[in-house]
């Protein structure tokens, strides 16, 4: 942050500051639960933004966030944030935060970005195989418009090109991890596999989050190298840093648990190939040091195992804007004799179909996400109407099905109809 401050002061010292744009987005959304008709979410979000230019090489972007929410869905945890990134104002109903604050220097293919930023790697759409650098907002689990909902973190990023190879090196010196729903909120995890094997109706215990204050040791570091060969792009990458999902470990007392985010290393590769109306995408990753909770006499025990993630996806574009995306992902843990709290393998599929109408003023889409290994999932129909250049209205449903212990089925009682209005100035 000190370096960024120096750069922020230096840049305008020799370059004229120009306000490139100022924007304000307002999002109002509400959801109604199928099971009881109650309002399960009512939230208003304001995202003010300013973009600055300092001469031809420097630019800056600052985006604030104000979340005001009532009802069960809540605004999510703040304990998972580092002291650097905690919302300035945080209580049950209001969070005031800095969503993004970056200073970028650019010359030809070289960009240096300092500040609070996201690093979106991977090529699949919402299926996170190699896209595991960023922390994410999970206060609504994965039932959001954009997946994942990324959490920006303080750090630095260098992108350059050498001999036709794109280099992307990033360091997030910010131990913020994925935000969770608070206990008692609509999307607080219920399935035992996400609670160290303890079922939702089991003994109550207090949960704390391990301290997020160690900048260097708990930072996330990544390097990605990519090369494009005509219609195909290949990349290899490595990420080291806190896991995006927590491990439950014994807390200070017998009736408490601590969420721990162990450092792990991910080695991965992606492949993307264009072929006419199709795009083929492949991703693979191995995490040799994945910590995972086990079922054992000692409570909240864990082992370290190798985790393998694979994903494949196809985009197809038909006539008049018809678009289909189909993806399949496999998440496999080598149990090696341990009784894991989660299945050894999860197989997830996503299918998305969408079509615009009336000169792209209307969009209809249908998405089905399934855990084929568990037989549960969610059907997500939605329709969007671009009323004007400033106003967009959306409505849809999340119809969740499956057994209570499933990845998605654990939230089946939260199936909902939702509406959203977005206003951009």
């Amino acid at each position: 942050m000190a370096v960024m401050a120096v750069m922020l002061v230096s840049a305008p010292a020799y370059a004229k500051v120009k306000v490139q744009s100022t924007n304000l987005r307002l999002i109002g959304q509400s959801a109604f639960r199928f099971s009881d008709g109650d309002v399960s979410m009512a939230r208003l979000t304001a995202l003010p933004e300013v973009k600055l230019r300092f001469g031809s090489r420097w630019r800056s972007q600052i985006v604030g966030r104000i979340d005001i929410g009532v009802a069960d869905t809540g605004l999510g945890s703040s304990e998972t944030f580092s002291p650097l990134s905690k919302p300035f104002v945080r209580d049950d109903k209001i969070h005031l935060d800095l969503d993004r604050a970056v200073l970028t220097w650019r010359k030809r293919y070289t960009r240096i970005t300092l500040g609070k930023q996201s690093v979106a790697w991977g090529v699949l759409d919402g299926l996170q195989v190699t896209d595991r650098f960023d922390a994410a907002r999970r206060r609504e689990f994965i039932f959001t418009d954009i997946r994942p909902e990324r959490l920006a973190r303080w750090g630095a990023r260098l992108r350059a090109r050498v001999a036709g190879v794109s280099i992307d090196a990033a360091a997030a010196l910010d131990p913020t991890v994925s935000q969770l729903a608070l206990q008692g909120d609509a999307f607080a995890v219920q399935a035992a596999r996400f609670r160290a094997g303890i079922p939702a109706g089991g003994p109550a215990f207090d949960v704390t989050v391990s301290g997020r204050g160690r900048l260097i040791n708990n930072g996330t570091y990544g390097l990605r190298l990519s090369k494009t060969f005509g219609p195909r792009t290949i990349s290899v990458l490595a990420i080291h840093g806190p896991d995006t999902d927590p491990l439950f470990r014994p807390g200070q007392t017998a009736s408490s648990a601590e969420l721990v985010y162990s450092n792990r290393t991910l080695l991965g590769a992606t492949f993307e190939q264009a072929a006419g109306a199709f795009i083929l995408r492949l991703e693979g990753a191995v995490i040799p040091d994945q910590d995972v909770n086990t079922v054992s006499p000692a409570p909240l025990s864990a082992v370290q195992r190798t985790r393998l993630l694979l994903g494949a996806g196809v985009d197809w574009r038909g006539r008049d804007g018809l678009f289909l995306n189909v993806q399949l992902g496999v998440d496999h843990l080598a149990a090696r004799g341990a009784r894991l709290v989660r299945p050894k393998s999860d197989v997830i599929s996503t299918v998305r179909l969408q079509k615009p109408f009336k000169q792209d003023t209307w969009l209809a889409r249908l998405e089905v996400i399934s855990a084929l290994s568990d037989g549960d999932g969610v059907v997500r129909p939605a329709v969007e109407w671009q009323v004007s250049d400033q106003l967009r209205l959306l409505a849809g449903a999340d119809a969740i099905f499956g057994k209570r212990e499933g990845i998605f089925g654990q939230f089946r009682r939260q199936s909902r109809l939702w509406v959203r209005a977005e206003f951009a100035l």
Binding site: Y109, A120, T228, A274, D315, E422
Partner: protein
């Protein structure tokens, strides 16, 4: 009788001249000079049949480099789509065209499947083919014939060479008025695959930018839906040495590049 034989003889001699004339006109249009690079602000106004307007503005960069035609469009307004960026490589020969789209909400540059040329570009009445063809009629797509001239303007008709081409482009035929001073169409009426009048493109203003005639203001009237798209360019300038990094897919997420010129 001899008079009629003479008339028929003149017609037989002249008929090939008309056909050549149409092909000559088309060749001159297709052979219009291009420039190495240009940049400018592109402003779209889209008006539906009820008169409701949507406005877009974008910075556009266009270059012909290394046997490919590249277009990069960075939207700047309205706020909802600001920083959305589109990049297209139109390769000569057999290589597939390539497209990318960056949407700020996803924070990812996404490679797009190649659209049919007849698909409409981002809600406008322009197709991807219209944008890439740049007011030229490809010799490999059309069979040309003469149409009635209109004063100093030459008439040109075209019919698609095959149903497959027609299906790809979304057109079966066109009738155009051509300015012989610039070899630029001033008006093109397109017909859909059923032969019904589909849309009229009217070019109001052309300017010489870096040695190439460039449409600066034009309008597309979609007759079947009643929708119109008005496009004009501001500050369009010749930039012969556009840096290749301007057309780098990964650079789309960094916003509009600064260029010299």
């Amino acid at each position: 009788m001899f008079k009629w034989i003479a008339v028929i003889g003149v017609c037989l001699v002249s008929a090939p001249a008309w056909a050549q004339s149409a092909n000559d006109i088309a060749a001159k249009i297709a052979g219009r000079a291009a420039n190495e690079g240009r940049a400018g602000t592109m402003i779209f106004k889209m008006i539906n049949a009820k008169g409701r307007e949507r406005n877009r503005s974008a910075l556009m960069f266009h270059a012909q480099q290394d046997e490919k035609d590249t277009i990069a469009i960075y939207f700047t307004a309205p706020a909802r789509i600001a920083e959305t960026a589109f990049l297209s490589y139109d390769h000569e020969g057999d290589l597939e065209d390539e497209n990318w789209l960056y949407m700020p909400a996803t924070q990812r540059v996404r490679r797009l499947p190649t659209s049919d040329r007849g698909d409409y570009f981002l809600g406008t009445d322009l197709t991807y083919g219209d944008i890439k063809d740049n007011f030229k009629f490809k010799m490999e797509d059309w069979t040309f014939s003469s149409a009635a001239s209109d004063g100093a303007l030459l008439g040109l008709k075209g019919t698609v060479k095959s149903p497959a081409i027609g299906k790809d482009m979304g057109y079966s035929a066109f009738i155009a008025k051509i300015d012989p001073k610039t070899w630029f169409p001033t008006e093109v009426v397109y017909f859909d695959q059923d032969g019904e009048k589909l849309k009229t493109v009217t070019v109001a203003t052309v300017s010489m930018i870096g040695g190439a005639w460039t449409a600066m203001r034009f309008e597309v009237d979609q007759h079947q839906s009643g929708h119109r798209t008005q496009v004009h360019f501001e500050n369009m300038r010749y930039v012969p040495s556009l840096d290749p990094s301007v057309f780098d897919p990964e650079g789309l997420q960094d916003g509009v590049p600064e260029i010299d010129g």
